[in-house]
């Protein structure tokens, strides 16, 4: 079910009032039922998978905790490793099906096992996100960061929580479970949720999807004369950011309607002055997850190997980030590129900071040049996110020469709407920053706010382009 659809609006129109009519102590159960209703409406068969994975993890959490209390000690390590391995295999199995079907060149019309493979080579809804939630729960119980959850209803609601199921944010169990046991959302939280959803709808329909049409044209038929490639190179990161941050806005906003505060995924990523800073600001719920459960154990294991250990841990981490999106060569190269950028960044960071401390003029220049340079590295790697194959990515990169919008073969309207939308979004960001800095006591009167909300809705309806879905739904 797409967040930007009539079905989702109707679903919320039923679920939200139902939630508020429910007694407080019944709300976790209500959230669980609503989440499974959402899941079954989107993907009925896969609901069995999420239920079994959740029940297994819940049970193993209790086993791990019981193992910690045994006098022999460390009896929880084997169950934790076994359970995490099984969850990784479960995720990898489904992640492998689609690439396998592609590699074997089978389609759903094929006979025998090939047809069965092709027909079932779909990634179950949200599997990349809920498996990560379940793994972090097991490791956190093992590390004694949190106790094993006693309520299956609350735990199952955590794994399947519908605003976060399709594309995150990946919330940690401790954070969610603490909130789900005392659900009493304030009016302000509800309102801020609605506002956040409205911002998300605008970013998606007006900015991302109009930019998306430009991208589709630029990537559609790379031939000898393909001058729009440069435009695509610069605008795709903006499209992806608008698209994915819109998805996060709607997810975070919807969760707030039910009194759940979700983690954030973005913090002004294109203002990052270095690639390591960029990764602390982009898809934060995934990168902090990987830092805690992949990078930290790897780095601890290789800490005696000096810089080689650092390089190995960084490269492995980034390749895993790439392959988490999709088991394909393009995402592998995406991971390798970022791994390489981060290794260079890490190995030179001490020297750079020493240099900038003694050369203040260069330091000031770096605050302006840094984001521009970082953006180019990010845009370069993102060609491999957008391209369907390594060949297409290479084709795009080798044609970065000319900039002529009229040759993209699409109307000028989309360009105009997308650029106007981007400008508005930028202005909104600047005004928000100014407000934070100087006008913290200034508030817009109610009539002004409502006039603005209606204007935004009108712009979405008039200039929004309804694409087939969010880019991050497919991961």
């Amino acid at each position: 079910m797409n967040f930007l659809s009539v079905q989702f609006a109707l679903f919320l129109a039923i679920v939200v009032p139902g939630y508020y009519l429910c007694a407080s102590r019944r709300r976790p159960l209500f959230l669980l039922l609503a989440s499974y209703a959402f899941y079954i409406l989107s993907s009925p068969l896969a609901a069995i998978g999420i239920f079994l994975a959740t029940a297994f993890t819940f049970w193993m959490g209790a086993v791990i905790e019981a193992g910690q209390n045994e006098p022999a000690g460390n009896a929880s390590r084997a169950p934790m490793l076994a359970a995490v391995t099984l969850l990784v295999l479960y995720l990898s199995f489904f992640k492998t099906l689609a690439p396998l079907a592609r590699a074997l060149n089978v389609d759903s019309a094929s006979e025998g096992w090939a047809g069965v493979l092709a027909r079932n080579a779909l990634l179950p809804l949200g599997i990349s996100y809920y498996t990560f939630k379940l793994i972090s729960y097991l490791v956190d119980v093992y590390w004694k960061k949190i106790p094993a959850e006693r309520s299956f209803i609350a735990f199952a609601a955590y794994a399947a929580f519908f605003p976060q199921i399709v594309a995150g944010p990946i919330q940690r169990s401790g954070d969610f479970l603490e909130q789900v046991h005392k659900l009493s959302p304030s009016t302000e939280m509800f309102r801020s949720g609605l506002r956040r959803m409205l911002i998300g709808c605008f970013k998606k329909a007006v900015v991302a999807d109009n930019l998306g049409r430009l991208m589709d044209a630029a990537y559609a038929a790379p031939g000898a004369a393909h001058p729009s490639t440069l435009l695509a190179f610069y605008l795709f990161p903006l499209q992806l950011y608008a698209d994915f941050s819109a998805l996060t806005d709607i997810a975070v906003g919807t969760a707030r309607l039910f009194g759940i505060q979700s983690p954030e995924n973005f913090y002004e990523p294109f203002l990052a002055t270095s690639i390591s800073q960029y990764w602390r600001r982009w898809h934060m719920s995934l990168t902090t997850w990987l830092t805690d459960y992949v990078f930290l154990p790897l780095r601890m294991a290789t800490r005696s190997a000096g810089n080689w250990g650092l390089a190995f841990s960084l490269m492995t981490n980034m390749i895993l980030i790439g392959l988490w999106h999709s088991l394909s060569w393009t995402f592998f190269v995406f991971g390798v590129l970022h791994g390489f950028f981060l290794i260079v960044d890490a190995l030179t960071s001490k020297r750079r900071s020493k240099f900038f401390k003694t050369h203040t003029g260069w330091d000031r220049a770096a605050t302006w040049v840094g984001p521009v340079f970082t953006f180019h590295l990010v845009a370069l790697a993102m060609v491999f996110v957008r391209a369907a194959s390594l060949g297409q990515a290479w084709d795009v990169l080798s044609r970065l020469r000319l900039l002529r919008i009229e040759d993209t073969g699409i109307g000028e309207n989309e360009t105009l709407y997308a650029l106007a939308g981007l400008t508005l979004w930028f202005l909104a960001w600047v005004s928000l920053k100014l407000k934070q800095r100087t006008w913290s006591t200034f508030t817009v009167p109610a009539w002004g706010r409502w006039a603005f909300y209606y204007a935004v809705i009108a712009v979405i309806v008039k200039y929004g382009h309804n694409a087939e879905g969010f880019i991050y739904f497919k991961f």
């Binding site: 590390w143 390591s276 830092t291 805690d292 930290l296 780095r299 294991a301 650092l310 900071s353």
Partner: protein, 80 residues
């Protein structure tokens, strides 16, 4: 080891790792409060503390550290 002695040695290690001779930390200090303390330098700090106190940390111990106070308690428990 005396607590004061432990804290002094720890602060020296912090100053050395983060290249800031004036750095001051309290029990409530977190990585967000110290310039340059990220997931990469965190391991540099851990390795430097392991060397300074001749101890070994496990991944689980490092994984659940929330602030400097946790680190002090952990080192205390290991140095007896």
């Amino acid at each position: 080891m005396e607590e004061q002695q432990l804290r002094t040695k720890m602060l020296e290690t912090f100053r050395d790792v983060f290249g800031n001779p004036d750095l001051l930390v309290q029990d409530s200090t977190t990585a967000d409060d110290v310039e340059g303390w990220d997931s990469l330098t965190h391991i540099d700090l851990i390795v430097a503390l392991e060397r300074a106190f001749r101890i070994k940390f496990t991944t689980g111990e490092v994984g659940k550290l929330a602030n400097v106070g946790d680190l002090v308690s952990l080192i205390k428990s290991k140095t007896g």
